[in-house]
């Protein structure tokens, strides 16, 4: 499984960047950044590289967690799997936030004004996040499940949709009140992103 994910994780990032290369380049120009296609691609690659460095530096820690986890057939395997999943989600989320803050700094240094940099970052984040989530669904599993066999890809990887699955889960959790719950989740995500971006210090140009 480790070898599978070692192949699929870079593949996930590569597929997302390549599929969105034209779009990211167009948005980089049209939203006032005046970045070329190559520069947009390199800026995003830099952000992903930073995230990869953060996650790579934490790999020994997560390896230790994996080694000490109970086997799949143990009674507490499901709880351990869920904990492992949540831990990795938090780590990936942390690496993503840090790399996007760094990307914002790059854009602010390049942009004519801070607003253009922020709008461009949010547009890239939206586009890459939207497509990346679907690619992560297509390329699943990344963690696997104690009850399922280890596979490189699930049968019919293109069958299903990340967002439909999330929506069904939200509907199930909320007991049919999916719309308000989804709205609350989206507002929370948007607010956290905006707060983390707006709290970055503005560097004045040197005289």
């Amino acid at each position: 499984m480790g070898l599978f994910v070692a192949i699929k994780f870079p593949l996930l990032i590569g597929c997302t960047l390549i599929c969105n290369a034209l779009l990211n380049g167009l948005l980089g120009i049209l939203l006032g950044m005046n970045l070329g296609f190559r520069q947009s691609f390199l800026a995003l690659l830099t952000a992903f590289s930073l995230a990869a460095l953060i996650l790579g530096s934490l790999a020994p820690v997560t390896f230790l967690i994996a080694v000490n986890a109970p086997p799949p057939d143990a009674p507490e395997a499901r709880i351990a799997h869920a904990s492992y999943l949540v831990t990795h989600t938090l780590l990936v989320g942390f690496a993503g936030i840090v790399s996007n803050i760094h990307l914002h700094k790059i854009l602010v240094a390049k942009a004519a004004n801070r607003f253009a940099a922020t709008v461009t970052l949010l547009a890239w984040l939206g586009g890459n996040g939207f497509l990346g989530a679907q690619f992560s669904w297509v390329l699943r599993p990344f963690f696997g499940s104690p009850s399922l066999k280890v596979q490189f890809l699930r049968d019919d990887p293109f069958d299903g949709n990340f967002y439909e699955t999330v929506w069904k889960s939200i509907e199930r959790i909320s007991g049919g009140n999916g719309v308000p719950m989804l709205t609350a989740i989206l507002i929370a995500i948007a607010a956290s992103i905006l707060i983390s971006i707006c709290e970055q210090p503005v560097r004045l140009p040197k005289p």
Partner: protein
């Protein structure tokens, strides 16, 4: 000799060492050529619309044909991606309907564009406005092309007309907004100071394209006929078909049952007559 009669010392001549170095000319300062090739057209469309717009008013710019070709190619390719949802005949029908629907919508809305741009204060000839409109649609087409890989991924992964329809609608809206931004720049450069008429026209054009997508249905789904004869308002159509999917359902659909549509002009759906979306997926 009296010191007061001495002539003043001559001023030192500027030497090369004292000459102020001229800053390098940035690409943005190089003027666009009068005869626009594809590279300068892209440069103008994306980076320097305010430099491109006056060029489009000068006869001999040779941009009209290139813009028309770009519009055709980009919208046709986007249509192919939409056709990948249902496949089969939609692989050629969807791009055909996209291109034809956009052309027809543009013809319908162009007279109002001229009037509304004049109301906004623009001073453009009909031909200049037509070329600027084509340039705006090219920007829209380029963005649709940029979104095409994402649409394709979801078209291959989802059977839901509601999801795909909503996704295409949002993308159509975003792309159209950027295209409209170019048109608005064109009006401002030519002297138009008011935004109200142009925003109103944008709303009209958006409604026309959305209705065109219903009139030209099916585009996302499949049907035994190329065009349906039944008339329906696009909101009514979306409401009736939002929850349906491309896969065969146990309830037998009626002939008038249609699938939801998206915002692009020739986007529309219908319940397929046979089989799964992907013929290679076994039952």
């Amino acid at each position: 000799m009296n010191p007061q009669e001495l002539p003043p010392p001559p001023l030192p001549e500027p030497t090369e060492a004292r000459a102020v170095p001229t800053p390098p000319v940035t690409p943005q300062e190089i003027p666009l050529p009068d005869q626009l090739d594809l590279k300068s057209l892209f440069e103008g469309l994306l980076r320097r619309p305010k430099d491109l717009i006056p060029k489009l008013g000068v006869p001999g710019h040779q941009a009209a044909g290139k813009l028309a070709l770009l519009i055709l190619v980009t919208f046709a390719m986007f249509g192919v991606v939409l056709g990948c949802f249902a496949k089969h005949e939609q692989l050629w029908a969807a791009p055909l309907k996209m291109s034809a629907g956009l052309l027809f919508s543009s013809f319908i809305c162009f007279p109002s564009l001229y009037i509304f741009s004049a109301l906004a204060g623009a001073r453009m000839t009909v031909s200049q406005l037509a070329v600027c409109f084509a340039a705006a649609l090219t920007v829209t087409g380029l963005l649709l092309l940029g979104f095409a890989p994402a649409i394709w991924i979801f078209a291959e992964s989802s059977d839901s007309f509601g999801f795909i329809g909503a996704l295409v609608l949002i993308i159509w809206l975003i792309s159209l907004v950027f295209g409209f931004g170019f048109l608005r720049n064109a009006v401002k450069v030519s002297g138009g100071g008011q935004d109200g008429p142009m925003i109103l026209w944008f709303g009209i054009f958006l409604l026309v394209t959305l209705q065109m997508s219903t009139s030209l249905r099916p585009i996302l789904g499949r049907s035994d006929v190329f065009l349906t004869s039944e008339k329906r308002f696009f909101l009514q159509h979306w409401g009736m078909t939002m929850g349906t999917s491309l896969s065969p359902v146990e309830k037998v659909p009626t002939a008038t049952t249609q699938a939801p549509e998206a915002g692009a002009p020739p986007v529309s759906t219908s319940v397929p007559s046979t089989g799964f979306r992907n013929p290679h997926v076994s039952e």
